[in-house]
């Protein structure tokens, strides 16, 4: 299963990177002789109201999804991981202050927080990145802090510290390797969720703006064509599902390996 997930995920990454070469048409190429055409050989996924090729747009749409998910999760992991390490290792006032601030973000349901932040910042890809980063940072703080807290009391850390190692060295060289597994597992799980949240934001018109194709905004545009041209919404939806599924499979597999319980 993990292998299937990995293969599909790789395919999606290749699709995003090589979109310009792989897609049969540029994503915004209009063809007025082929408006809302049903799927055929010429356009396997059909065309939309501007005669744009849905297949090409689905391929290009992978870019927005991956870009937003990668950027936001990496940022959330970096910021959250650092803060979590500080909170767990330094403890005391630091721990208290960081937790207080994170509690604020935890006080609002995740998706609502994302939608709220994006709506306030105004629509756009960067709003989506910021929204998802804000939702996931507190989570990574927590996932980093708890094991660090447990680990720092252990003998080997005491020993290293007694030998005169600096705080930073202890944190990075000795603590980090021992607490990183659950953190990475959480990262992959969050990654597939980030794809879903980005799609939701796009669908609500809060992420990538047309004419840039994203799976979510294609679905949104296709919504009013459900009856006459369902293919406009069917294919991007399948794309989202396949992508999320692939990364979920990887996440499950990683969990079994890295974080066995």
């Amino acid at each position: 299963m993990v292998v299937v997930g990995a293969v599909v995920a790789l395919a999606i990454v290749v699709m995003a990177l090589g979109a310009d070469v792989l897609a049969p048409h540029p994503p915004d190429e209009q063809n007025f002789d082929l408006i809302e055409a049903r799927p055929t050989g010429a356009a396997p996924f059909g065309t939309d109201r501007f005669g744009r090729d849905v297949l090409s747009r689905v391929i290009h749409g992978a870019r927005v999804s991956l870009y937003v998910a990668v950027t936001s999760i990496v940022m959330a992991m970096a910021v959250g991981g650092t803060l979590g390490m500080i909170a767990g290792y330094a403890g005391g006032a630091w721990d208290n202050a960081i937790n207080r601030v994170m509690d604020i973000f935890f006080s609002i349901p995740g998706l609502l927080l994302a939608v709220g932040v994006a709506a306030m910042r105004g629509p756009g890809v960067n709003s989506a990145v910021m929204a998802i980063t804000i939702v996931y940072t507190p989570l990574f703080v927590r996932v980093m802090r708890a094991p660090v807290l447990a680990e720092r009391e252990k003998e080997y850390i005491e020993a290293v510290r007694a030998l005169g190692a600096g705080k930073l060295v202890v944190a990075l060289k000795h603590l980090l390797p021992n607490v990183v597994s659950p953190f990475v597992v959480q990262g992959t799980v969050a990654f597939s969720q980030a794809i879903l949240i980005e799609a939701s934001l796009s669908y609500l018109g809060l992420s990538a703006q047309p004419p840039i194709p994203s799976w979510g905004n294609m679905l949104n545009e296709g919504r009013t064509y459900l009856e006459t041209a369902p293919w406009i919404s069917v294919f991007p939806g399948i794309a989202i599902m396949v992508a999320v599924l692939a990364f979920n499979l990887i996440g499950d597999g990683l969990r079994d390996v890295l974080d066995p319980k």
């Binding site: 509690d103 998706l111 609502l112 709506a119 799609a199 939701s200 609500l204 999320v244 599924l245």
Partner: protein, 312 residues
């Protein structure tokens, strides 16, 4: 007490955050009110800004809002002229009902699926459930909603009533409206619960005393339902409790897809309308609700597992 104190502190932080973020949003309620085809002088814009107190420094606006909140006054919505509290109360039942129905659906589907899956481990049923759960976790709520609408309206020629009716006025009609949204919203939770149930059951089934019980000659069905399930209940309740909170957030998307008049849509609408009092107070209200749910889950957890106690 400690918990309550920290809740208040968190909320206070939230007020500052929400307030400042809103002030950073470009455009105000005034432009929203003026409309597209208008010819409006800067003087009129200034007058309207004065009317809403938008010409005052932000800290004064914040202090006034907080002062009112301290007296239990959530403020008055700029766009509707109605008290925010009454707008929330008008829409709260919708969001509540949607959340409860989804949780109910998720439990009804997820728990039995998890049990069966664990009991018939690696059989066909188990595989189907596991793949189904993975799919359930991966399907975007709004797409599922759109596809269901498509399926029902075109192939079955049926549409849920478009005009909202609350449960008390006409329960049957209300439920016909709610069934699709609840189904969509609950799918991912059902998948989560099924997975948790399965994992929990497998843990327990492997344990010593269950094997003893089985060795004593108790029927497999009894062992699974009575002993194993009881012990797997703690993680299930925890996950279900967490799902309530997550679903509460998910309502914002589902309400938008199915155009239900709930609190989530109210927040989104108020942000678009730059109706500051409405956004601020509604978000605060949701936060209180969300934190309360989480608190209740923690307390419940303590009751189920006596090893954990909270000094709430």
């Amino acid at each position: 007490m400690v918990r309550l104190y920290s809740m208040v502190l968190t909320l206070l932080g939230l007020t500052v955050l929400v307030f400042l973020m809103l002030r950073l949003v470009p455009g105000t309620v005034v432009e929203q009110m003026i409309g597209a085809d208008a010819v409006v002088s800067p003087a009129m814009v200034a007058e309207l800004k004065r009317f809403f107190g938008l010409d005052q420094p932000w800290w004064l606006q914040y202090a006034r809002w907080l002062g009112a909140l301290a007296h239990g006054d959530l403020g008055t919505s700029w766009r509707t002229g109605k008290p925010v509290a009454s707008l929330i109360l008008e829409r709260l039942p919708v969001t509540f009902e949607l959340t409860l129905l989804s949780v109910g659906f998720a439990l009804l589907l997820g728990v039995p699926a998890g049990i069966v899956s664990a009991a018939r481990r690696d059989h066909a049923v188990d595989n189907v459930t596991r793949i189904g759960a993975l799919l359930g976790l991966s399907v975007p709520v709004f797409w599922q909603g759109t596809m269901l609408i498509l399926f029902f309206s075109i192939y079955l020629r049926w549409m849920p009533p478009v005009m909202w009716v609350d449960f008390l006025t006409d329960p049957r009609r209300n439920l016909t409206i709610m069934v699709l949204p609840a189904l969509c919203l609950g799918t991912a939770s059902a998948a989560n619960i099924a997975r948790t149930t399965r994992a929990g059951m497998l843990d327990v089934l492997r344990s010593e005393y269950i094997r003893t019980a089985a060795a004593k000659g108790l029927s497999r069905r009894l062992v699974i339902l009575k002993h194993a399930l009881k012990n797997a209940l703690i993680p299930i309740v925890t996950v279900a409790g967490l799902q309530v909170g997550i679903l509460l957030g998910g309502t914002v998307v589902v309400e938008e897809v199915f155009t239900l008049p709930g609190v989530g849509r109210l927040v989104l609408w108020s942000i678009y309308q730059r109706d500051y009092p409405l956004t601020q107070s509604t978000i605060l209200f949701i936060a209180v609700m969300f934190m309360t749910i989480n608190l209740v889950v923690d307390l419940l957890y303590g009751v189920l597992d006596p090893r954990i106690r909270y000094s709430a």
